[in-house]
Symmetry: D2
Subunit: 336 residues, 4 copies
């Protein structure tokens, strides 16, 4: 059960309401976000909603039967949109393109990528500076120095930044240079990280875990929302299956199912979802057709020289073709 509080509720009324609900045997969680204040009582409602609806300080009340509550689509019928400023919006009719190299590599590479994005009208650039790598001996990214360089070039070009944050201790230093904090697949259930990001006001993109269920992804989003941040993007990036012909198996079913279960926006990552350059374009177009609200993909001026993930990066020519084809099909896509 979700109770949205009246914007003008007094602390006294709020405390009173809290007590009344506990008296009704509800376990109550108070949540305050950028947009509103809520009282969340997880689990199926055991009491008559009408009884709650008339209590003072209550704006509205909704029954939610899922294990996740605030991110459920059953109480909020209008899809959440995200405004990154400077005219960069996601959702509400704006299909989001987020492209760039896997890792931030060097200044020339940033310039090449920015130039490509500007040419294609892409307003959000991806690039990792803290890289989660299976082996401790692999390249782990350029760190804050790389991020500052990344930021400097993007700001000049009016481009927003999405980049991965790996641990709470990085948030503060990254804050000024980041528009969307990306939570990687290996951290999809790093609950401390999610909780800390819930205390930020910047957007958070949560990748589905390597073998994360739809339910777990929504519960991870609930961690962020219930800690105070409503600006959440979900990202399908392929799951681990028995099939070894690709790096991951892109789960196309997840796109329409997530759209039906939540009011959050859903982004597709066809680069990690396939791991093979030739599959990126058809799967990207398929994901858009199935209702994705945006794409996060890797493009590199010279994929064969990329420091990481070259085998799944589009060349700039391929990226341009993807954008062109995407523009053709967007009017026909299943978005809602």
């Amino acid at each position: 059960m979700i109770i949205r509080l009246s914007p003008h509720i007094t602390p006294d009324t709020s405390a009173q309401l809290h007590d009344q609900l506990q008296a009704l045997q509800c376990s109550v969680h108070a949540v305050t976000t950028q947009s509103a204040s809520y009282l969340v009582c997880p689990g199926p409602p055991s009491i008559d909603l009408r009884r709650v609806g008339f209590l003072p300080g209550v704006a509205d009340v909704h029954a939610v039967s899922e294990t996740y509550q605030l991110v459920s689509g059953s109480w909020k019928t209008q899809r959440t949109t995200i405004d990154l400023g400077d005219g960069v919006q996601i959702g509400g009719g704006h299909f989001a393109l987020m492209a760039g190299t896997c890792s931030i590599e060097n200044e020339t590479q940033i310039q090449d990528t920015v130039a490509h994005l500007v040419q294609q009208g892409i307003r959000i650039m991806r690039g990792g500076v803290f890289k989660p790598r299976s082996s401790p001996y692999a390249f782990r990214g350029l760190g804050m120095e790389g991020l500052q360089l990344f930021y400097q070039h993007c700001r000049q070009a009016g481009i927003k930044i999405i980049t991965e944050v790996m641990q709470p201790a990085q948030i503060d230093q990254m804050y000024a240079y980041t528009d969307i904090f990306q939570v990687g697949a290996r951290n999809a259930q790093n609950f401390n990280l999610l909780g800390e990001l819930g205390q930020q006001d910047k957007a958070v993109l949560i990748k589905r875990g390597i073998s994360g269920t739809i339910e777990e992804l929504l519960q991870s989003a609930e961690y962020v929302f219930s800690a105070g941040n409503e600006r959440i993007l979900l990202c399908e990036r392929g799951i681990r299956t028995f099939e070894t012909a690709y790096r991951n198996t892109f789960d196309i079913n997840a796109i329409p199912l997530l759209k039906a279960r939540t009011h959050l926006l859903v982004i597709a990552d066809p680069s990690h979802g396939t791991g093979i350059r030739n599959l990126v374009m058809p799967v990207a177009l398929a994901a858009a057709m199935a209702g994705a609200d945006g794409l996060l993909y890797e493009t590199h001026s010279q994929p064969e020289l990329a420091l990481s993930d070259g085998q799944q990066s589009l060349s700039h020519e391929e990226s341009a073709e993807l954008v062109a084809r995407l523009r053709q099909i967007l009017p026909f896509c299943c978005r809602s």
Copy 2:
């Protein structure tokens, strides 16, 4: 290595060629299909192809390094097409729609479905009369009687039939009433069945196994081709993963990968690939966008009353909408 024999080769020359190859340490498999005769030497070629190319009776020779040979796309650059007669074609610019109920249920139901197909311009009807069911106590289909009824109504309406064959002993009796023999996911590695279907001249649609790899699907197709039948359709129908939110996880990656690896046509089954009615349309459109050559899907005039698979069957209204949307997007799809 695949050697296509000259159409006018004499038995003597053929036998001589066979001996020459064995003398070169090749293990040779002779294959004769509707279209041509081949000698297949599996595995990477150990001899100089030019040496073989000039032998008498050889039309052309191709190196194929995959575990599958005849179905590989590396030797045959033109995609196979299938002509079912009466103007019903698959491939070569014709996107195939195969729709109908999961099981053939009764005459009224056949009539309803045929009427819907005729109205939508769909020329191939699906419907099972031999149903592989996990439980021996479940409805197992109407058998030959059902098939004859099915056939009678379809013939009148100019509609072709795709229906599942479960064992070699059924082929002969089904032959006259069937246009496409469907091999179900549970029989995807029933090698005796595949071998027998390789001796037929009718088209065979092979569903990917419940947890079948891409490689295994192509090897199953190789069983059919190498036994003499080139008229093969591959079908992606979802795989079994850890995710329980849907019946199966539709593997969208498989569509472009299969198109790249084989010259065979690739059909998508979004009904089994999702198991949830609301996901069928977005996934069907996504599969078409990713390059599928056709769709096999379930539609029922009253899905809630279907004897099997009602929860994944489209209503006729939804089916009509799917067809309409499909016609809009086909010009933009990734087919090749």
Copy 3:
């Protein structure tokens, strides 16, 4: 609901009982096996069992709520045992060892294996003559000729034979030479084959499907039992997972779970369950410890020369060590 009929029931009483149950809205399946006659009404019982228990011709009646009925452990508390004759028993205190080469290769190889088995006191030999192979170009076994040779040597040595049957058409010719019909993992849901084997009186070992669930395995066994054959062995042989370090992932949980859910015997196949020679012994001992009633494993006098599965075959020395260690631990195992 399972009704075991009185052994002396007359056809008239039986027909009457059938009618009475149908009048009570039960869907009734009549089953007659080597041991008894049953009426099975699948699904949870909708009627008072006592009402049925007193009907004429009823020996006893049991509520069974699983999707499978006759193989459920909830109605038959005593574990099924299998007697192959000549003192070769499985269950009831007899741990079954079934060992041999993957394929029957030639007479020398049979002799070597038989000699090893005799020396170790192993009374059941495994060996395939019809081999399901992913590729149509791989060695597919010696067929009936191989089986006859196999039989001839085993009969002399007092050894029983387990061998794979791939299709109904093979049953009749194999019958005289086979003691246990093995249904392979790829045929675990070949319902026609299971049904035909249900009409035999010889034992049937059903391997779990490559990604078959516990429930599906039990339903496949139900196909055999409900067609008339109670002599069933279940076999855990590893499942397909994301892990590529081994051929299959042996599912040790399945052993105690199957023992709890069914009255059938459970055999472990550590050769296919691992695919790696060094893992066979520890996993074999672990399976015995967890409650398996027997082992089916591959041993070859020269594993490196085996025509198939050499990399997972024990040498005869390793096999002897396994047998010795097994004898040490059997008193401590969890069997029930």
Copy 4:
């Protein structure tokens, strides 16, 4: 390639050696642990080992071809053992039992558990105070207060503590109260956490990821070792598969494979590996038989009242029976 440095190497010689290796095109990582100093050059060695072996300051040099290096069994033939003090040892002939409640719940519960452990001669107690829960609304543990209480009772009883650490920021406060830091399955690729634990001198138990491969588990251990901590335990706790009959599928193959690939000790968690109380004992005994060096399992005086994981907790009576049976079979187990 791993170079173990001479214990008496001077900083100068060390720096010189570093330079010489870089001149030979090696990428060199310097590692200093509790036991020794190493230079690690990942990847297959490109230079003649003998050439390196004679350089000043080199104690010995080993070729290691795996993606992980220091945890590989190919260079260190003697299995690592762990001494927790006060006579509590793991490995080297000491099978480790670590038992207790899932969560630390309250003082009475701690006392009950400690009493049970003392009675059974179990010297290590498990219990979570920071609980990673899928839902933000679930019980998340008693935190530091709980850990202090936990510690107070264990110290009196001479019992060591294993408890989960969820993030780097918790390490310092937990340090004084913890003997083994447990890294949970959801954090198995939390590389920052692993790196920080590599800077501690206390033992670290790393659980395999929910769908983590063997290779990934070993690479995670490499993070800890290469950051300076050799005291590592690996833990198999079941993987996520398609099977829904249990919470996880215990991967018995992993036990002997890990033992073969690494010199680290391998612990089995049959509670999470099955999720079902009745399966815990047979799977625990099977894991011991297959070569596990210890068990981590859940036991609760009243499993039905446990705040978490009650359905997979043994009662104290069952736990006592497990210990008794374990003592019987340990002489026969495959450990090495």
